[in-house]
Amino acid sequence: MLLEIEKLHVSVEGKELIKGVDLKIDYGEIVAVMGHNASGKTTLALTLAGFPQYKVTSGSMKFDGQDITYKTIDERAAMGLALAFQSPPAIRGIRLGHVISLAGGVNPWSPKPSDDLDLPQRMLAKVNLDPQSYANRELNVGFSGGERKRSELAQIFAMRPKLMILDEPDSGVDIDSLKIVGNSLREYFRSNRCSMIIITHHRHILQYLEPTRVHILSGGRVALTGSYGDLMPKIESIGYERLIREAGKSE
């Protein structure tokens, strides 16, 4: 198993937001995490990435055979865990191309002769952002919703991760950008077979990636797990709440 989460409890400022989550993801597996707003999806993503304000109060998280509970954000990233943010910050004075280089392990200010200097351009091309102009743009400054999501992908592609956590890569994105995001993720998966957790509200992005499983979070717990083919039509016809209620009754 690449990722093994057991009985995970997480609090932020004393308030418990994750209340006993179990989740396993194998190498090369894609899973979807769905659920209504404030169900704990982003909390789970940021906890896995190591954000210090998300305190693990009990349970365990193992990644690639190692306990990562006490590892810092950058240590987890170096182990191969990459997060694409739902709302990435805009940072003035920092060029997107430089961050892509750094994500790929290249110091853009003092590169070694052996370094991959075209990395930013290649990664930007993968997400249909003009390589020359976007490499020099300030990080996410003045980017549209779709451009931000694509900038996130270009950065995490450069990391060559073992696991991608994609926090709503399809929110606030127009139909053209959605196609680019979906296709570039599918392309990346085909050539790299990295595992993915896709957090989303919508079916559209999942059509590109066909997850093996869908987990529905509710109130900080995994309320329901099923196959994509089985759960997706039900979610679309009756919504999360009723689906979870009815599943509870039938058990």
């Binding site: 810092t72 954000i73 950058d74 990233a77 943010f85 910050p89 004075g93 200010w109 990391m159």
Partner: protein, 412 residues
């Protein structure tokens, strides 16, 4: 110094030798020596140090002035560049009687003890003039270098951008790596004539024991533009400066950009004042400052609207990285006319954790991420500055990326 016409300045200076400055700590000037004790020379170390403040001695195509202690080692090529004159000030004053009209005109010799000592112990300085309607392509370079231990350097600089001319001057002030204690009291008087543009970039690189008291004033005539870019990155003992721009002619403009990285025990009291005297004049002042270590920073900005259709904007953005550092922003807007529009914004805070965590999520270590964010925060993007110079300033800032230089930890 015995010329009769200067006697009146000498007399006024003598009366002001103990006069405290309006701002900053009082410095005992008797602690310093006024004649050099090293043989001025331009070795590789000196050239390297000079390059660090943006002045390339080996650039044979630009007008370049280099002064070590009291000796002018280089005043080159200006005569070959059309429309540009570059001379040591004392030589220029001997050559041109008319230049006396510009001497202590923008500044008062009796302003304080530092202007007084600059007159009494003057150590050359540069005179730079662009002829009417000439556009000088390459930046004119000037470097004031202190080589002797305990030296007080007091140059008197005069820049005249004649009517319709354009000029870009980059000056670097620094000390020898072996020199610890030093003082610099540079007097600078700039004159931007009708429709002329002067972009003046100054890069300071001092030592932990350097006391610095520059005194600068600029008079901008009708339609003229003055842009000042100031960069301070290395530690200094104590610096105080408050350049003043007099926008005397209709439609004149002044803009000050100040970029500072304050570290160790530096005491930095830097500001500027813009007087919008004539109709339709515009002033802007932007400070960006990062404070670490035990540094104490004071940013003073003042804009005075004295005529109709005048505009002024002050901005101070501060980032404070250590609990022992401090930044004080003191913006002043003074409206002396009903038809003036003045504004200011100031924001001081710590490094944004959200941004730090974001970069760390890309596998970047916290140390390197802080360096990158600080560099990005200070990133010049200075208007009116050629890309080459911009790149040079970025290069200076890249020294702040601690992990790329392999140096130590956060200096708190």
């Amino acid at each position: 110094m015995s010329e009769g016409w200067r006697e009146k300045f000498r007399t006024q200076a003598l009366q002001a030798v103990t006069k405290r400055a309006m701002y900053g700590n009082d410095i005992d000037l008797s602690d310093f020596i006024y004649s050099g004790n090293v043989k001025p020379s331009m070795d590789d170390d000196t050239k390297k140090r000079t390059l660090e403040v943006g002045v390339d001695i080996n650039d044979v195509k630009s007008g370049t002035y280099f002064q070590m202690d009291h000796s002018v080692l280089l005043s080159q090529l200006a005569s070959k560049i059309k429309g540009l004159e570059l001379l040591p000030t004392d030589v220029a004053l001997q050559r041109y009687e008319w230049l006396r009209d510009y001497y202590w005109k923008a500044l008062s010799v009796s302003q304080d003890k530092y202007t007084a000592i600059a007159e009494l112990k003057q150590t050359k300085g540069y005179y730079i003039r662009s002829a009417p309607n000439e556009k000088i392509d390459r930046p004119v370079q000037a470097c004031l270098f202190i080589g002797s231990e305990g030296m007080l350097q007091a140059p008197h600089n005069i820049i005249i951008a004649e009517e319709g001319s354009e000029m870009n001057v980059i000056t670097g002030c620094t000390v020898d790596t072996k020199t610890k204690k030093a003082a610099h009291v540079g007097v600078s008087e700039f004159y931007v004539k009708k429709n002329a543009t002067l972009v003046f970039t100054m890069i300071h690189s001092w030592s932990d024991e350097a006391y610095v008291r520059p005194r600068t004033s600029v008079i901008v005539e009708e339609g003229g533009t003055f842009i000042s870019n100031y960069v301070l990155i290395k530690p200094v003992k104590d610096i105080q400066s408050y350049p003043t721009a007099y926008l005397a002619g209709r439609g004149a403009t002044a803009k000050f950009n100040t970029i500072m990285y304050a570290s160790k025990d530096s005491i930095i009291d830097l500001g500027n004042k813009i007087l919008c005297m004539a109709e339709g004049t515009t002033g802007e002042s932007v400070f960006k400052v990062v404070a670490t270590g035990n540094s104490k920073v004071y940013n003073r900005g003042q804009i005075v609207g004295q005529n109709r259709f005048t505009k002024g904007h002050l901005e101070c953005r501060g980032m404070i990285l250590c609990p022992t550092a401090s930044i004080t922003a003191i913006p002043e807007l003074i409206a002396e006319h009903s038809d003036t529009e003045l504004s200011h914004e100031a924001a001081i805070g710590k490094l944004q954790e959200e941004q730090l965590h974001y970069l760390m999520a890309r596998g970047i270590s916290p140390d390197q991420a802080i360096g990158i964010l600080v560099k990005g925060f200070l990133d010049p993007g200075l208007p009116g500055l050629p890309e080459k110079l911009q790149a040079e300033i970025r290069g200076r800032l890249s020294m702040l990326d601690r992990s790329s230089t392999g140096s130590k930890k956060e200096p708190c």
